[in-house]
């Protein structure tokens, strides 16, 4: 996973609430067995509409998605995170993320930042009137800034550290693998096993 310290880029507004992962990437695109190439399926149904924000030339180079509340609800498909990353997004801002989507994004290195809805509204207005607005998302300082505005955001220290170091979660757990073995020795005998087949 790439390290994430800070990112500066332009942003695209997505003024919709409850954007579920079926909208982010429809199921028909989930048949691939790789983690790449999902950008063509990103918001597939909406991208047929020339008026859709991602199709507008002024937002073509955006790397920050400014989404409505309850972004990423529904299916657990991590393909939604990969599709956003494959397309070029580094950060998603929203007032509320669905739990599984947020977890997936933090595993895969897509930064999801929670800001109050009134601040999201202000950013929407700013980038709608001035699409070239540059936004900096600083994970080290836990700040989102643009123009003269600077906003603090909250993220737990552990996740922040892991993202900033680009650390693989599995590698970290392997440092505690002896504790896993001890735990296994104490598991109850009645707990079911899938093998041998009964």
């Amino acid at each position: 996973m790439d390290k994430f310290i800070r990112h500066t880029g332009s942003a695209v507004p997505l003024r919709r609430s409850n954007v579920d992962t079926d909208q982010i990437i429809p199921a028909v695109y989930l048949k691939r067995i790789t983690k790449s190439g999902f950008e063509d399926g990103l918001f597939a149904a909406w991208r047929n509409d020339p008026a859709f924000e991602l199709n507008q030339p002024q937002y073509k180079s955006a790397t920050i998605l400014v989404a409505g509340p309850d972004f990423g609800t529904g299916s657990s498909r991590e393909h939604a995170v990969w599709a956003l990353q494959n397309y070029g997004f580094k950060v998603v801002l929203s007032s509320r993320f669905a739990d599984i989507f947020r977890g997936n994004s933090q595993k895969a290195g897509l930064l999801t930042v929670i800001l109050p809805q009134e601040e999201i509204e202000k950013i929407w207005k700013e980038i709608e009137s001035k699409p070239e607005t540059s936004i900096t998302v600083d994970l080290q300082a836990k700040k989102v800034s643009y123009g003269s505005t600077s906003l603090d955001f909250v993220i737990d220290d552990y996740t922040r550290w892991r993202l900033m170091e680009g650390l693989d979660d599995i590698g970290l757990t392997f440092t505690k693998i002896d504790q896993v073995s001890s735990f296994e020795e104490k598991r109850a005998s009645f707990k079911p096993k899938t093998l041998p087949i009964r």
Partner: protein, 471 residues
């Protein structure tokens, strides 16, 4: 008395505490996973990750795979026609063979939707931690297990370590007291819960469904409720195990036997929320007041009793909800004020991990028996597993559906998410017993109304959204 008085624990907190391998201040808890269910769609990249890092599956004996999401429900004895689906299914088979994981493939009697297969094999039991790369893993919470959906990175993590680092969610009690009226089902309870708290209401919580109306439900009805916890925003939802649970598990292929049964039962009986435990939030619902529910919009929180009319967005005060309602009505091609019962549908889908179990098929068949479905629509009946299909056939349910003019299919996720050929055409409208009415979920341009199996059956006969009482 020495030390401080321990507060009681909720059921979710008890199961969590039992599975903590390692806990460090400022870090997520490392939680042991008792059972990992896998399927073809969210696992290939995880197995690739293992290969790249030269890792193996730590506990193949706590892992099981089934093919469900993209498999066809017709001609399952022939090779899968779609080459991309076939590659994904073949990849799962190869990965399971390479890493020693048990798999139930298309054509196997234990094949089916992963959340139907676990309970019927008896590998879903009270007090367990259960994960799967599928958000409807919450289904298994019906047994008093802590069960939740995970992404592919987490699938790889569990395959490699049989653990997951997780921050413990808060707990919310959903109290449902009273008695359901005839024709009202557990599907209507959960749709009413979601309409009440919204699709984000359960974010950050584990839900516990409690109260006399929940206790009165069968195991399969409880699974329907827990299944849709994710539609309320909660990763997990559970119900304390009781005699109904123990009776259901007993005798299943992987249920404990002999002395192990006694040990298990003694433990399972401790799996209740303590009387002095405190939930972070509580929601109350009166079962006596509930009616058959149906969704009118494009998220599962946009639902109303079937006797209501399509809402008028202009009357919704919250701007965010108003905008969502306007967009939803445009997509659904519905006008405010239209009685829900006047809405015509083209397809009725009976199946999915929400409502594809034998009781669901029985209850729908009872309504349909001896009658014909409306000539204007098709009724697709897709059992949740090959075993459910066989059981239904042994009871003659297939004949009831076929005689009525329905299609009787093989097991899989099917039209719930339209990854296989079972899809709505653009503009088509469905009454569906599944769990999501998202735009295009059941096929590009398709429109979905979520309903119970009883409403699905009545709608199939009438041609418009209906409950059995309307027939």
């Amino acid at each position: 008395m020495k030390g401080k008085v321990e507060m009681g624990k909720t059921l979710a907190e008890k199961i969590w505490a039992e599975h903590v391998v390692s806990s460090t201040a400022g870090e997520p808890d490392l939680l042991y996973i008792d059972l990992h269910l896998i399927h073809e769609v969210t696992s290939p990249q995880a197995f690739d990750g293992l290969r790249l890092a030269n890792r193996k599956v730590r506990r193949p004996d706590l892992t099981i795979a089934t093919e469900d999401h993209n498999v066809p429900t017709l001609n399952i004895d022939k090779p899968i026609a779609d080459p991309v689906s076939k590659l994904q299914v073949d990849t799962l088979r190869k990965n399971c063979a390479e890493f020693g994981v048990r798999i139930h493939s298309l054509g196997d009697v234990e094949q089916g939707i992963v959340h139907v297969v676990g309970p019927q094999l008896g590998i879903t039991q009270p007090g367990m931690t259960i994960v799967c790369g599928d958000s409807h893993t919450s289904t298994h919470g019906a047994f008093g297990a802590l069960a939740f959906g995970i992404g592919t990175s987490e699938v790889e993590h569990v395959l490699a370590t049989q653990t997951l680092p997780l921050i413990r969610p808060k707990t919310m009690a959903i109290n449902v007291e009273g008695t359901l009226k005839p024709g009202v089902t557990s599907k209507d309870i959960i749709l009413a819960v979601i309409a009440k708290i919204g699709t984000g209401g359960g974010q950050g919580y584990i839900l516990e469904y409690r109260g006399s109306a929940i206790r009165a439900l069968s195991m399969e009805a409880r699974m329907t409720i827990c299944n849709m916890s994710i539609e309320a925003g909660a990763r997990a939802g559970l119900i304390a195990p009781d005699q109904t649970t123990f009776d259901y598990v007993k005798g299943k292929p992987h249920a404990p036997t002999g002395a192990d049964w006694d040990l298990a039962l003694a433990y399972w009986k401790t799996l209740v929320t303590d009387y002095d435990a405190k939930f972070d939030k509580e929601i109350n619902l009166n079962a006596d007041e509930l009616a058959p529910f149906v969704t009118w919009g494009t998220n599962p929180g946009q639902g109303l009793p079937l006797s209501a009319s399509v809402p008028n967005p202009a009357e919704i005060s919250n701007a965010e909800d108003r905008g969502a309602a306007e967009r939803a009505l445009e997509y659904m091609d519905l006008k405010p004020g239209t009685p829900l019962k006047s809405i015509r549908v083209d397809t009725v889908f009976l199946g999915s991990c929400t409502n594809g179990r034998i009781e669901d098929l029985r209850s729908a068949a009872e309504i349909i028996k001896g009658k014909k479905i409306a000539t204007s629509l098709r009724l697709l009946v897709v059992p949740g597993s090959a075993r459910v299909r066989l059981q239904a056939e042994s009871e003659g349910l297939d004949k009831i559906f076929l005689d009525a003019g329905a299609e009787w299919r093989s097991a899989g996720c099917s039209m719930c998410l339209g990854m296989n050929p079972d899809q709505l055409k653009p503009g088509e409208r469905a009454a569906s017993t599944s769990n999501r009415n998202f735009e295009g979920r059941q096929g590009k341009g398709g429109r979905t109304h979520l309903v119970s199996p009883l409403v699905a059956a009545a709608t199939a006969l009438k041609g418009t959204l209906a409950s059995p009482a309307d027939l």
